[in-house]
């Protein structure tokens, strides 16, 4: 049991580490707007799958890491990710029953709300051009959700993460 638990933890944290890498990986300038919210996607999946292991605290810590990477105010992305995790957790029972396309729609709404708050925070701290282009990444993330979900579900089955 102890060995499985440690192995499971390893897999989850590895996926988060890869998520962090993906969120800073270089992309062509015009595609930057469409960069998916990798960490949010991973967090959403793991909170749905293993709510006992991954929760708001994890989201908060990952958000802090992302803040340092992006050079935004410490706590900004932490707030966003915590919020996303909270919404996913509160909708968890229903989300698990939904077919994939409905899940995608809910994810789109949740991420959209998060991105709007992100926009609002950025405008408040006076750092960014307030444009609605930020919402594009929520759309792309929602489109990616089925694939991420399938891939991670396979990983989860193989490694018996409960």
């Amino acid at each position: 049991m102890a060995s499985t638990r440690s192995r499971n933890g390893w897999a989850i944290w590895l996926s988060f580490a890869i998520g962090l890498l993906l969120s800073v990986s270089p992309m062509p300038q015009f595609m930057e707007v469409f960069r998916p919210m990798w960490l949010a996607l991973l967090l959403a999946f793991w909170t749905l799958a293993v709510p006992g292991k991954v929760g708001m605290t994890t989201a908060f810590l990952l958000g802090l890491a992302e803040d340092v990477l992006y050079g935004t105010l410490l706590g900004q992305n932490a707030l966003i990710l915590t919020l996303i995790t909270f919404l996913v957790l509160s909708l968890q029972q229903r989300l698990r029953m939904f077919p994939m396309w409905q899940q995608s729609l809910v994810i789109l709404v949740i991420f959209g709300i998060a991105q709007l708050i992100q926009l609002w925070l950025s405008a408040l701290t006076g750092n960014r051009l307030p444009t609605l282009a930020l919402v594009w990444s929520a759309v792309i993330s929602a489109l990616l959700w089925p694939w991420v979900s399938f891939a991670l579900r396979g990983l989860r089955r193989r490694l018996h993460i409960h």
């Binding site: 800073v24 990986s25 992006y70 932490a78 282009a133």
Partner: protein, 329 residues
Amino acid sequence: MLVVLSVALMVVDSRFDLLKPVRSQMGLVLMESYWITDLPQRTWQGVAGQFGSRTELIAENEKLKTEALLLQGRLQKLAALTEQNVRLRELLNSSALVNEKVEVAELIGVDPNPFTHRILINKGERDGVFLGQPVLDARGLMGQVVELMPYTARVLLLTDTTHSIPVQVNRNGLRAIASGTGNPERLELRHVADTADIKEGDLLVSSGMGQRFPAGYPVATVNEVIHDSGQPFAIVRAIPTAALNRSRYMLLVFSDRRTPEERATEAAIAQEEADRQGAGHGQAPATPAASAAGSAVQPVPGAAPATATPAASPAAVPPAPANTQPRRQ
């Protein structure tokens, strides 16, 4: 609870310096991810370098040799000009030009946020980088350091919407402020009078007025001047001379961080020393300089009295204004 905590963190981070060390320590670990994501490209370049054909290398070598020759030729001329400039400045009693030290840094990452223009470089606090340090590339100013981590630093580029730099037109010294627009190929000059003497093709250089960027580095070239009678000011757009989104290697400038007053005082003391030592043959260098003064002093009227420092010895100062003053009128 966590939401409250993150809001509190944001407030503290935006208002106080308390969290800077925490951030810098976290950055030490996390910045490796920029390095890792850059690895494939680095490896590819390494491999390409390994297998580059001999003829290509020879051609490149030839090209570099030619370039070096050209640059050296220009440098010779520059040495003479610098010498002349120093002499003329001495004549005007203005403070000497400061030689700036530079260090090469490499780009390791670009900010993933499409609405900011910030980059990461591979030099940090341990290399002596400081906040607000100017960053150049081979063609002009790029930006300034805004965040320090032990081995990396974040640079805000000129074209970020939150960045402005004091500039002057190289042709006539007209001062202005160039602000970023969020477009990597465009700067805008704010509050330029409609009648100001500025036109397409003018080179804008840093004026050094903000005490942050050293004076005289090229910043941008004006590419559009729009006179709209409905607007209170002319709209002036310029293209940065630096390759802001292409340069991989850049220069960190370590300029003199003393205030101009301190610098002037120290220069005056040094001058005094030199005069005292060379008292026996002091008049010798003055004669050729005085003859050069007549032609060169004209374009900068009024510069001499302003920069004359009270600390200069009475024995050293009077001859210079006495020489230059009558010739200017």
